[in-house]
Symmetry: C2
Subunit: 127 residues, 2 copies
């Protein structure tokens, strides 16, 4: 996987990965990968991340079952951002929404939740 | 713009902004904003960024004329990433491609440029 050496990981050894629905092009989430989680993503064809808040590896869907099947991987002109197209099982957002980007900012600065929850996080994560 | 105080800017005072085509949902680029460039983006309805490499404000299209008209602004569940839908004039990428994500990684780790240039950077930027 020679291309990995061409990528620019940040000072924490991470690169942001934009996750996009392969079918309708919805941007589902953004999370961070280090070299090992990127390699695991390419090998398993399931998205793997590095959690900055929990400081641990994280297979997307490991708790919820809402995994992401990798369909295509791209990187940008600066080689410092990944774009990964996936088939999303269930929902991408731990809050229960299909996409993490469910809050819209209006012109007057007010915000609005523009999506419906498709699962109940309390039930899925068994809090 | 009260919501700006709810956003989580990183230790450099920056927040990543995913820029998506409002018409066909292509992910065009990702760049970074600080509070002032986000405010300028909301006020002028043109994307403004903070260049980490040049350490300066940057109105997208200031050199090329390839500006982005802001159509909708969202932030994610963690309030640490922006998603901005735009009408792109010309092309988003300084390399001449419509999207910065013109390099695809294949299963065997080889890479391929999967787009055609729509302008010649040497002519547009008058190098």
């Amino acid at each position: 996987m020679k291309f990995i050496n061409e990528l620019k990981f940040n000072s924490d050894g991470l690169i942001p990965a934009i996750i996009q629905d392969a079918e309708d092009n919805t941007v589902l989430m953004m999370a961070y990968m280090n070299k090992d989680s990127l390699k695991a993503t390419l090998e398993t064809k399931k998205t793997n991340f590095w959690s900055r808040s929990r400081q641990k590896y994280w297979v997307k869907g490991e708790s919820s079952g809402h995994t992401q099947d990798v369909k295509a991987v791209y990187y940008d002109c600066d080689a410092d951002t990944l774009l990964i197209k996936v088939i999303q099982h269930g929902a991408a957002c731990h809050m229960g929404y299909r996409s993490c980007f469910y809050t819209q900012v209006h012109n007057d600065g007010t915000t609005e939740i523009i999506a419906e929850k498709i699962f109940d996080p309390d039930k899925v994560y068994k809090k």
